[in-house]
């Protein structure tokens, strides 16, 4: 069993309404030193696969096929345990 995390972010240059809204809200709350904010998703998966490299390859494949929309998003995967 391997745990993998897939993080999906909007590509640079793609407008990020949630990120913008969060940045604005943080400013309003008094966090004056916040610069750019980007919001994305994380998906943590338990894979029935002992080999870390294989698990990562599978997660990459899942990200390409479903978890990320490569038209607007990019992703990274990491093996957690």
């Amino acid at each position: 069993m391997t745990k993998v995390r897939v993080s999906v972010m909007l590509k640079d240059g793609v407008l990020d309404p949630p990120g913008k809204a969060i940045g604005h809200a943080l400013q309003t709350l008094g966090f004056g030193n916040v610069g750019e904010v980007r919001a994305g998703r994380v998906i943590e998966l338990e894979l029935d696969e002992a080999d870390a490299a294989k698990a990562k390859a599978q997660a990459d494949e899942m990200a390409r096929r479903l978890l990320a929309n490569l038209v607007i998003e990019s992703f990274t995967t990491e093996v957690l345990s």
Binding site: L15, P18, N69, V71, I72
Partner: protein, 229 residues
């Protein structure tokens, strides 16, 4: 016109769509199930609104992989017409049958209100019920309707006449305050390159009856019926 409406788990405007199609065509549309792998003989396939699979990952993302979508893709490739409204539009972009993507509304809130749409060309089965430049009212009801594509892609879409509808003022003028969800270049609906596939966010199917507030959406369906006569 023989139309089929695809129902995914979480689709919720299939009945609205059936009412509009029935009113225009006089015949009952077929209800298709997302797990079907073949389509019956049809002129038009409609992907209606709703929250397919809860829209939990990205709107339309999971439905785009449904078994029926290969059949829909083949159908379009063989010359069939496909209409996607709201979630249906999102599914078509996720399935890469239409360009671009739909992000969270710029204001970060679900918006349920009437908007005005300007018809960008009238030489397609989807828009022949109007004249180019016509403006009609339609209810919108979505949280993720903010149309995006790269600048080059947007230029290309405009150049090749793939923009179907834009959010506008009642007089047809474009303005930020008439673009409720922040869509790039106020785009509310697009065509595929061959103009056999059309997607839009607002709901013409919910405005086809004076009792419900008007018939502004009717030309979409009347035009389609005309095309297949």
């Amino acid at each position: 016109m023989k139309a089929g409406i695809v129902v995914f788990p979480g689709t919720n405007r299939e009945r609205d769509m059936a009412i509009a199609l029935r009113r225009a065509a006089g015949t009952e549309p077929a209800m298709l199930w997302h797990r079907d792998t073949e389509l019956p003989a049809l002129d038009l396939v409609v992907l209606p609104g709703g929250f397919s699979h809860g829209d939990y990952l990205r709107s339309g993302a999971m439905a785009a992989h449904a078994p029926i979508m290969s059949a829909v893709r083949d159908f379009a490739a063989r010359g069939g017409y496909v209409l996607g409204v709201c979630n249906g539009f999102q599914i078509l972009t996720e399935a890469e049958m239409l360009p671009g993507a739909l992000l969270r509304n710029a204001g970060m809130r679900f918006l349920s209100q009437d908007c005005h749409l300007r018809v960008e060309r009238d030489d397609t089965p989807f828009t022949r019920g109007w004249r180019e430049g016509d403006v009609f009212r339609a209810p919108m009801a979505h949280g993720d309707g903010n149309y995006v594509a790269s600048e080059e892609e947007l230029d290309r879409l405009e150049g090749e006449g793939q923009v179907a509808f834009r959010y506008s003022r009642a007089d047809g003028g474009l303005a930020d305050d008439a673009n409720p969800n922040g869509s790039a270049r106020a785009i509310a609906g697009v065509f595929s390159a061959d103009r056999r596939v059309c997607g839009l966010m607002p709901h013409p199917e919910d405005l086809v009856d004076p009792l419900m507030g008007g018939e502004d959406g009717k030309p979409l369906f009347d035009g389609l019926v005309e095309s297949f006569r």
